[in-house]
Amino acid sequence: MSVAETTPPAGTSRSAFHTADRPRWEDYSRCIHCGLCLEACPTFRLLGEEMDSPRGRIYQIAQADAGRLPLAGAFETHIGRCLDCRACQTACPSGVEYGKILERARAELAAQREVRGPKAWLANYVFRRLLPDPKAMARQARLLRWYQRGGARAVARATGALRLLGLAQAESLAPEVEGEFFRAEMGRTFPALGPRRARVAFLAGCVQRVAFAGMNRATLRVLQAAGCEVVIPAAQTCCGALHVHAGRRAEARELARTNIQAFAGFDAVVTNSAGCGSALKEYGDLLENDAAAEEFAGRVRDATELLAALGLPAGMLRPLPWKVTYQDPCHLAHGQRIRSAPRQLMAAIPELELVEMVRADSCCGSAGIYNVVQPEIAGRLLDEKMATVRATRAATIVTANPGCMLQLRAGIRRSGAADRVMHVMELLDAALEPGAAENPAAKPE
């Protein structure tokens, strides 16, 4: 028998990790490289290489910690190619919290990487100024709206200028900026219709406020119709999910502290974004040993989770004779282990037919900003997804996360596999009995 080292000594002076946010031995050593995660991983299925598999990435991180691998080069490539979709966490019998390990490795990469020039400037602008600041977001959104509606887009697309600038993919994924931003609603309270069954605070989301205002309003109407009084605290900010994915944990912590204060005192913090919800529920890990963060995380609910637990009042929904298929958002199904709640809510709509697609819980390629930074892999995953959607013959794809909606919309534009993409809340909203379907006058908070 050959003698092998199963676990190299970790965290030694030879370790390639230096910061306090380093991946922890207690987390990564739980992986016994049994390989049961392999087929659950979209990048492994696509590329067929150990380096782009969950156990392979964990092995790379363990070897880097043992000083056997430098962080530059191939390590960065493979860690960068991960979708952070957490499908491996669902598959893992050892309970390895892969997301934690990966995000910490990315924090190390971000801390050690010196990026200069326009790319770094743009990243700093987006993460530090744009996402946390609704006013800046609104300004940029207006510009984008002018571009999308004023004919400039038509010119840019027609002349091929976008492809020349390498922006074609990003451009096709940009959200359609909506006419009226979700701004007047901030700081207000929306009463429950009928007897009040719960009082909840709503996370409006940074991108959602300018690009998904309609979806936010639909969520409000559905929550109200289900008997929730909904408060939208004005002091809230971006959840920090994209920062954590990109390894920018210090900035994410600041945002987390702001939100914990803004949402203090509510029974539940509700979000219609699976990505945001997952990040909010992980504030306890982000702000280590912080009791308030743990307590906050325990109060976060996805809108589908809240409504399925609460139950919909009788007579709330009218028949909707549609054929739909449901895409599990990774950060709902894998990140938060919520699969049955959205399906339960859809089943409550009379005459609605849900046709399950194959591998509904496999990533569509959106994965935060993955489709922008890894367009090639994201595009191939989207093509596969569209083929499975087409096989269901459903006209509507339903999902529960804005990022997935953008990616799926780009998918149906180029494939024609379905007619539209809707959020579960929008679907419920469409099925609301008339009378329950408008936002009654809101009173200030």
């Binding site: 050959s2 080292e5 067929g48 380096m51």
Partner: protein, 482 residues
């Protein structure tokens, strides 16, 4: 090094830039499989067709380099690990289901097709592929063929070799051998049987014809719960004595089932000393009758309680616990060594007591989970790889366990294969004449020893103490060979 420099550009020209991995990180990522052995390859190649496999083998022959075939790398005996360098030939980009003929109960697949994927793809037909190793959602059919994999349902249906009727194999010199065929039993030597379980030492499989089996009309799953391990052990032989062959008969001891329960919530009672998971398959009436009989046998042997799964969901949960058991152990200990030994089913009780004593002597925790019905044990030896000497201690305990199995009339492996983990233990169960015969056979297919070198047959390079300790009469032969 010279050889590698020469072959690399030729492989790249053949397979394209993403078909060859040569960088330090990439090679490091192919130094492991699902077990504890390690060995870094010099190159990893990813052919996409049988023609590319042929070309790779011809090049390797020309340059005198070793080839190590690999599927998903979920094996537990180092079968897909490059023991002394060489080229890993990864088959997981060859994953087409070539044909399915339900009326002939056959399917033809490429080696990289994932075990469970085949059954899922044909699920509408009422047929499935029987072998169900615990890694079935990730392991490949090519890997199953190489290791002659088993699984819980081996008891009633047999191992992989009983479900493969033909193979296409590329030999060391690039020649193609086609074995078996559509007929269930072909004349001539049983070359299919020879190839299945040969662990990549005779050739590289590029297509597999498998037998499809009709799903049983009815399935009933029982969970028998015990306060004493011995009573569970006695039940195993009592069921056979009663004239019933369950489709599966699995056992988990208390320590193991508690860890599993934390991971999977399968429904195993936390305060029990052992549980038996028993599955009965067949026609409706027969199943009901056998289930009642099995339940009676369990109670008679001292089961505290016997539960029957009420529906498919509960059945799924009971099995999820068993199938994910190895992985779930990562929760309780940073490292463990999965053993694979075989004993006669009548010896389960004494062997379990013996295993416990071995663990106590060495201060190691040992859990037990296994295919009780066919006496295929999987003791799990827990250790902390960070502490110096712990791995060696675990290996020593494991060797002792295997010796115990052999003394009780059993074997050194049931289904995980010999690989580089147990090649030196082969003399425990085979005479030197037996082994020589196997060497001749290997010589015929693999004369230069370049196919998966250092696997399956003892090289007597290390650990000869093991062989000497148990079979002193071998001493002279071994000395003569070194």
């Amino acid at each position: 090094m010279e050889k590698l420099r020469a072959i690399r550009p030729r492989l790249q020209a053949l397979l394209g830039p993403d078909g060859v991995v040569a960088d330090a990180l990439g090679r490091m990522l192919y130094e492991y499989d699902g077990g504890v052995d390690r060995g870094e390859p010099d190159l990893v190649v990813f052919p996409r067709s049988p023609d590319e496999v042929i070309a790779v083998l011809r090049l390797a022959r020309e340059h005198g380099l070793a080839i190590i075939p690999r599927g998903a790398g979920t094996g537990l005996s180092g079968g897909a690990v490059a023991r002394d360098g060489g080229i890993i030939l990864s088959l997981n980009r060859m994953r087409k289901i070539l044909s399915v003929e339900v009326e002939n109960q056959r399917a033809r697949v490429e080696p990289g097709v994932v075990n469970l994927e085949l059954s899922e793809r044909i699920s509408g037909t009422g047929f499935y592929f029987v072998p169900d190793p615990s890694s079935q959602k990730a392991c490949t059919i090519g890997g199953n063929v190489a290791e002659n994999s088993g699984g819980p349902h081996t008891l009633a249906y047999g191992v992989t070799v009983n479900h493969v009727t033909g193979l296409e194999v590329v030999l060391a010199d690039g020649e193609v051998l086609r074995t078996g065929g559509m007929a269930p039993d072909m004349p001539g030597y049983d070359l299919t049987g020879l190839m299945v379980g040969s662990e990549g030492t005779l050739g590289v499989v590029t297509a597999v014809t498998v037998k499809l089996t009709r799903k049983p009309e009815a399935v009933r799953t029982l969970l028998a719960i015990y306060d004493q391990v011995d009573r569970a052990a006695e039940t195993v032989s009592a069921i056979t004595a009663a004239g019933i062959t369950p489709a599966a008969l699995e056992m988990l001891d208390g320590f193991t089932l508690r860890a599993v329960e934390a991971a999977v919530q399968a429904g195993y009672p936390l305060d029990s000393a052992a549980v038996l998971l028993i599955e009965i398959e067949g026609l409706q009436e027969e199943v009901a009758e056998h289930a009642a009989a099995v339940e009676a046998v369990c109670r008679q042997a001292g089961a505290r309680e016997v539960r029957q799964a009420r529906d498919a969901a509960e059945r799924g949960r009971l099995w999820a616990g068993r199938k994910q058991a190895f992985g779930a152990m990562g929760r309780i200990c940073p490292n463990f060594y999965v053993m694979d030994g075989v004993i006669p089913r009548t010896r389960v009780g004494p062997v379990l007591r013996g295993i416990e004593a071995i663990g106590q002597r060495r201060g190691l925790r040992i859990g037990n989970i296994f295919h009780a019905g066919d006496g295929n044990l999987h003791p799990l030896v827990f250790f902390d790889g960070r502490q110096a000497g712990q791995l060696e201690l675990a290996r020593e305990a494991s060797r002792e366990i295997i010796q115990l199995c052999v003394e009780q009339g059993g074997s050194i492996t049931g289904e995980h294969g010999v690989g580089m983990e147990k090649d030196e233990l082969m003399p425990l169960i085979f005479s030197e004449a037996d082994l020589d015969f196997m060497r001749w056979l290997k010589q015929a297919f693999n004369p230069e020893g370049r196919l998966n070198p250092g696997k399956m047959l003892p090289t007597y390079k290390s650990c000869r103490e093991t062989a000497l300790a148990t079979r002193p009469e071998l001493g002279k032969t071994i000395e003569a060979r070194i």
